[in-house]
Subunit: 664 residues, 2 copies
């Protein structure tokens, strides 16, 4: 920075998050389009570039590189930074006046006006000689070109001299060696984190491996869970998420249906982590050994499935930490350790860390080592339990520390809380976030909410992972509901967002609640469950078709591609997605009515499709596997509880040299 800082104004740099306090998110292998307003008083010709470098992981750190920005209308400039690899990048913008081009531009206007430009040519010579001096160490050829051109301008002027002075080629050479001492640089340096693709494109399936025996009586093992994988693969999921797999506390263990006094044989909540067998770095003995776990991870991978673990930073009273590190926990004045509570609710089987207490540094370091421990055991995705009850700055620190070493590690924030707190967790680093989708049932509220979270500025840092159910939440709309409700909610979740998930049993339309609550009766959180995959009324085929559509049509793999369109029926939602390169286009109509058929007139967005009103185009409806030829914007659709969604892949016809062909 020189004292000329600010001679060029660089404003409104986009994207950025909270004045650069947090990183925005993108996907590795894609690119980052940066925009800024760049200007200066007067009429100087400006040059602007984006500077960028990869900073993590350390092994992939690069030098600063530069890409040109191009002026658009009204002093707005734009350029593209490539994000080839998974990791953290820095970027900023620099701009300076192009003295030689400015001079040449004015010279031309003077020559056109017939003015004597003798003195101007000497100014040009000085500019070229300055550029030649700067070029010397970089390009001998450029230096010679510039020096010779400068010398020619010092001889008495002639029409030929003017042609040389005004040639675009000479300006290009001179601009390659600018006086960067005149540059303004945008402050602060901004950050972007390039995640691997699964950060944005994944279908999660949650199940309890202890139920993998599927008889509701015998404790399942990782080996049994391997037997679950072909079924999950058939459903089309690519991520399985396991609730905590650690030893479960015995003190104050919860019984079936969250009762306070566990009976002998009750398995307890896996979120009550830690017993004499170990804590967050141990495996519940009944699930198997580390060898078994690794075998399960490998088997999953062989089925194209990644294993995600739960990260629940809390302890059962029996957790070894409690005895070994009492200083990590909150104590009452009488010296006892506080159990978790949210009055009047108490969680007697759980004690909380003293996050900001005097032993904070050691505690945080230990918890980081927990994450790295499981990373070493082949896990790259974590679903984080209740992050909104722990300090935001802990997550900011933890996620950065882990991703600095392992940029491929993903964190899903399981926060169902106030909107700004959910967003803040995404800002401090969570890769994906649970959402309010679970409670958004009708057209306006779905559209408003999905537009909010899938479009910038929120989509620059927040990726909504849509879940119709979780082990904690059986929403009212799925309680004792027929398969129509389950079909429509899963169709919405899997096509509105590029990342979605469901908890096992959903495909069987399991919907028995604790009366008056949004909780499962006989919840798997407290007992083994006998899952019958072939239970009558199951919607496994429907789910498999949706996941297949997602795999085959890249449009559905893009998070911010979502656009809503018009249907004339309030109970039919109509939307679409299109890849940025336009090679994949999908339209989706979903009935929001689980009880009765609904008809709607859809208004197909011809301009967005790039289809002319008189043009015939083909759609392939993927749920019923039916192709049609459409023309014009008006399409009538009938949706039923049995078939509540239509997912149309759209193809335009293309005339090739020899025949008609179509392409997406």
């Amino acid at each position: 920075m020189t004292d000329r800082l600010g001679s060029v104004f660089i404003e409104n740099v986009q994207p950025q998050l909270d004045a650069g306090r947090y990183a925005i998110k993108r996907i590795a292998g894609e690119s980052l389009t940066v925009r800024a307003d760049i200007f200066k008083e007067g009429h100087d010709v400006l040059v602007a570039i984006a500077r960028w470098r990869q900073v993590t992981p350390a092994a992939q750190q690069t030098e600063w590189a530069e890409v040109p920005l191009t002026p658009r209308s009204n002093d707005a400039w734009e350029g593209v930074i490539p994000l080839a690899h998974n990791g953290r990048y820095e970027y900023t913008i620099e701009a300076w006046p192009d003295l030689f081009r400015t001079w040449a531009h004015e010279l031309k206007r003077k020559v056109d006006a017939g003015r004597d430009v003798k003195s101007e040519l000497l100014e040009g010579a000085a500019l070229l000689e300055g550029a030649a001096a700067r070029a010397r160490d970089v390009s001998v050829e450029d230096a010679r070109t510039l020096a010779e051109a400068g010398a020619r301008l010092r001889t008495p002027p002639s029409p030929e001299h003017l042609l040389v002075a005004l040639s675009p080629e000479l300006a290009d050479v001179a601009s390659r060696h600018p006086d960067r001492g005149l540059a303004s640089r945008y402050d602060p340096v901004l950050e972007v984190f390039a995640d691997r693709e699964k950060a944005r494109n994944a279908a999660w399936y949650e199940f309890f491996p202890r139920s993998a025996k599927r008889d509701g009586k015998t404790h399942g093992t990782f080996k049994d869970a391997e037997g679950w994988l072909p079924y999950i693969q058939k459903l089309g999921f690519d991520t399985v998420y396991l609730p905590p797999i650690h030893p479960i506390g015995r003190t104050a263990r919860k019984g079936r249906n969250n009762t306070l006094n566990a009976q002998p044989g009750d398995v307890g909540s896996p979120w009550a982590i830690g017993a004499k067998e170990g804590g967050h770095k141990a495996i519940h003995p009944e699930l198997g050994t580390f060898t078994d776990f690794r075998a399960f991870v490998d088997a999953a991978q062989a089925h194209g499935i990644e294993v995600a673990l739960d990260l629940a930073f809390q302890c059962a009273p029996d957790h070894p930490y409690v005895k070994d590190h009492p200083e990590w926990f909150q104590h009452r004045p009488d010296g006892t350790i506080k159990t978790a509570e949210n009055p009047p609710k108490r969680y007697e089987d759980i004690v909380n860390f003293d996050w900001m207490g005097p032993a904070r540094d050691a505690l945080w370091k230990e918890l980081k080592s927990v994450v790295l421990f499981w990373v070493d055991h082949g896990v790259r995705t974590f679903r984080v339990d209740n992050p909104h009850t722990k300090p935001m700055q802990f997550w900011h620190w933890l996620i950065r520390e882990v991703q600095d070493l392992h940029p491929d590690v993903l964190f899903l924030s399981e926060a169902f809380t106030r909107p700004k707190v959910m967003k803040a967790l995404a800002k401090v680093g969570f890769t994906q976030s649970y959402t309010y989708f679970t409670w958004r049932l009708f057209k306006d509220e779905l559209r408003t909410y999905l537009e909010e979270i899938t479009q910038p500025p929120v989509a620059d840092y927040f990726r909504g992972n849509l879940w119709p159910n979780t082990p904690d939440i059986l929403p009212e709309n799925l309680q004792n509901a027929g398969p129509g409700a389950f079909r429509l909610r899963v169709a919405l979740a899997s096509t509105l967002s590029s990342v979605w998930g469901m908890y096992s049993g959903y495909e069987l339309c399991e919907g028995r609640p604790v009366p008056g609550k949004e909780e499962y009766l006989d919840s798997e959180k407290y007992q083994l469950v006998a899952w019958d995959w072939d239970r009558p009324g199951n919607i496994s085929d429907w789910i498999a078709k949706l996941n297949a559509a997602r795999r085959q049509h890249p449009a559905l793999q893009h998070y911010s591609a979502l656009r809503f369109f018009t249907s004339d029926n309030e109970r039919v939602l109509f939307y679409g997605k299109r890849t940025p390169d336009g090679t994949s286009t999908v339209l989706v109509a979903v009935s929001l009515d689980p009880y009765a058929p609904q008809e709607a007139l859809l208004h197909v967005p011809m301009e967005w499709l790039g289809v002319k009103p008189e043009e015939t185009y083909q759609v392939h409806e993927l749920m019923a596997d039916q192709r049609s030829l459409w023309q014009g914007p008006d399409v009538q659709v009938r949706l039923t509880p049995e078939q509540p969604a239509a997912v149309y892949a759209v193809y335009r016809f293309r005339r090739t040299e020899h025949a008609f062909d179509y392409f997406e």
Copy 2:
């Protein structure tokens, strides 16, 4: 700042400008409403305050003060900072968890659930004792109250103890002595500049004092100009702006109509500043002496009029600076000083400073002394000539330096250039700005542009001063136009913005152009002009009525109060203004057609007026001085070239104890 920084999130602090890089603007005597999103993980009760202090002028600097913020919905908080005095203020936001209230809140829920709270009471005692310790140096009484309450909680609990612990009075006392070590403070500190009221509410009249003899032949003096003041007062203006009053260069002086060879007796352009008689700190001898100038300023003040001077930082080749400080100017390679140019245009009578050259510091200091010189001679308002051709950082520095000493000094930016450059000048400190109003003629473009500049975020730093004409600009719509065009444009300027101005001759409907250009024929910039105030067809009465309406109706004095409403005729613009306290309301309908009568159905905004649909209300149309009773939203209006604007002061009837009364 402690290492707990960030335990409370403070986001989205409003208003602020470019992450606090520049000050926002308000008016002294009013207040600043600040808003922020404030939250923390978990369920702590939070306290938030705005911290503020006046920092300039030095004599009025204050200590940091605090005002409470109040929570609104969705984690948004709001508070009001008083800006009693003219000057610069700093403000920021601080928030912390209220540990005692959090404790009391949870205690109540536990008590309600029938839980044993013995241990909790001990925690409460510790919190009270901590507060008592902090209170000791501040309030002996509070310290005693807190210590006693703490002690009571340590004795065996009783229902009475619980009542004490949960009393709102105790919480109030404890909250007065919080542990601020837990506080988060927003970074950066933001700035607001509180201008005196004329920054936002003024009517400018520009005239050349050298034409004050009004015969077109004899050079006028300040004494003659005093004779112009009663007329200007009658027109209702409160600011007169004089083009540069300094000695005019003789070298390359421009002749009449901007010709290159001045004839003997040609007076030259006053913007070619400087001759052997002096430069920016001298007065053109033919205008008079410093005594005469001061007498003129005083006479103006006696007429309720403030004198504004032109600040044109450029020199005629004869300016003493050129000889005394050649290092302040740009030179050609042959050693001559560069004259100003914008190819193919040349300004041979002007040379430019080398703003960023090696002598920059001395040059800037000298130019600052020019401003302070005229401040010492009673001038507090400057119209700055072509600021967009000088470095933005110079203005940022100059305006701040001057206003640190004299916060009442106002700067009007005379920049007609690209939109972002005009806004940047306002950001770096200009009090008011010229606008594109001059070229906005039709309904949509007027509405879009005025909404942009009169509403936040632009209105937080940009105040558009609307001019239908200037000595440099006779827009096409006023060329050879009838009085209808002049009437309608002045009605728009004076009611759309709270600050407007016009150049003399407008009231006489002077509209003879240089053919094909937006310039005046026989421009006063290069010659004396014989102004006949009683010229037939003049619209002085019309202008006087508009300015009188502005004085009598505070709604018209508020810049951001503007709202547009519906008229069913594209050629009739309908809008209104209302003071923030609702005590003054004005509606305005203006025909945009200077050629023919226009009728329109106006849709009066009943809800905005606060009038019920069935209620009768009174309007006083100020241009024709006619009162009517209206009811409901539909009003038919007929506007003509003779009477192209209707300005309605709106009154509601109010029932008093004894009779009907009305109030604004």
